[in-house]
Symmetry: none
DNA sequence: GAATGTTGTGCAATATCGTGCAGTAACTTG
DNA sequence: CAAGTTACTGCACGATATTGCACAACATTC
């Protein structure tokens, strides 16, 4: 196993799991703890992670990482969320994906809207409790803790019994050639299943997602119907999608 | 468990619960009280919290003067929750009902416990996210907003595919003759279904529930296996259940 | 003021860390 | 092809950090 590979893998895991234990890593990779520690030391030297006794934590600020990331693009995110929420019509069945972007959509949904929201995210279900006219349908399954959504066979089964009018999907990568991608295999499978059960699929794409590619593909760009981006998005980035008949919505704050 | 993680978790809980007790924390995290106290001391040194005899309070505000009434009823509830959480064993499949009592159980579950928790409550699922060794299985269905649990045909279907070792049930009425009752028809049906799929059914009964009767019956007293009550419960109230072979657990704060 | 529970400190056991050293493999150089 | 160079990895050992226990001091309650 190459050094570079190891380091990449360490950083990858660190991002997903928020913590790394030197001993565990050495066992799982079949290497001595010394090697792992050396890697950690070097990565810490490059400022890519923060060492603590027993392992390592993400670079920026331990667990403060998530809140800060939320704040940074909070304005754009709520703008996108509002634009998505505005697409919903009375009487529709709306499928809401899991993730911070879609929780924002849930919050942005009008108290006046009479509709059914289907979701496999407990967070979304909780966020929608206070909406008096929204019927909530929760998809069950094994909870995938990294992103807090239901996955697995039970979730797929639940999805297969529902047909939605519109699906608001969060992704980590949107690319003209490679399509929609995300960083986890199970999540990709679930998103694909939902998209197939929905008449329309709308993708929420904050700036950094456009042109990005993640490990697991969900569906091709031809299978989605709309893209919601922030206002400051360049036309060049969006052309490949427009020419394929995908409706673009620019979210104005 | 890493030191930094512990501290982050302590601060996190402090923000949520406004008050933490060193003893409880040590039990849930599976560490000695000394370690917790050391952490509290260090965090207090950094001005991140304020120590008091028995535990700690958030740093800045004068939240110490919260209504004492709220604390008292909360104490009994957490006592019951702790007693319930202590019943769980490694490797078990545990069904957790929805409701404030059972969310407290979720929070009281030890970080050391390796088990699967099945629930039809999004709140429980979210509460258990931080437990590293708990596998969460969420039951889907239409969300009944009054109590925030999944109900209906989809929920029944999901429950029918799972067998649990132990079921912690919340109710609104426990009566020797009328059995276990609750105020909603759909919830009663779900609780009954879960009870049938579980080897043991344990009922969480705060003081005001004993002897009370609500509109819809769940199961008779003969179909439950255990009752957890607070310490100040009179023996007379409990006799009818003991004579029927139901194990009584008195929760001591 | 006695009983109980909580706290601080010294101490020992354990786990983790950093460094020096040696062996191996891939690559370079003459 | 042989020798040297470099990078990588694992082992050993002393240094440091963390944790749990014991006991005395202190606070709280009745």
């Amino acid at each position: 196993m190459l050094t570079m590979e190891r380091k990449a893998l360490i950083l990858d895991r660190l991002q997903k799991e928020q913590r790394i234990v030197a001993k565990d890593l050495s066992q799982q990779l079949g290497l001595s703890e010394d090697t792992i520690r050396r890697d950690l030391r070097e990565l810490a030297g490059e400022g890519l992670l923060q060492r603590v006794h027993g392992g390592a934590l993400p670079a920026s600020k331990a667990l403060a990482d998530l809140p800060s990331r939320r704040k940074i693009s909070a304005e754009d995110k709520t703008a996108i969320a509002k634009a998505a929420a505005a697409m919903a019509r009375n009487g529709q069945v709306i499928f809401l994906d899991g993730g911070t972007s879609t929780v924002a959509v849930a919050r942005a949904i009008s108290m006046q809207l009479h509709a059914t929201v289907v979701t496999h995210s407990p967070d979304i279900a909780v966020a929608l409790l206070e909406h008096p006219n929204i019927e909530i349908e929760l998809i069950g399954g094994r909870i995938y803790k990294h992103s807090n959504v239901a996955v697995g066979a039970a979730a797929s089964e639940g999805i297969s019994h529902i047909r939605a009018d519109i699906f608001f999907m969060g992704v980590t990568g949107v690319h003209p050639d490679y399509g929609l991608t995300t960083g986890d295999r199970e999540e990709a499978a679930i998103k694909r299943a939902i998209s197939r059960q929905s008449a329309e699929t709308i993708v929420l794409a904050s700036k950094e997602k456009l042109g990005a590619v993640s490990a697991y593909d969900i569906v091709g760009v031809d299978e989605i119907d709309g893209l919601i981006v922030e206002k400051s998005c360049s036309n060049d980035l969006l052309k490949p999608y427009q020419t394929r008949g995908i409706s673009i919505t620019r979210a104005h704050a």
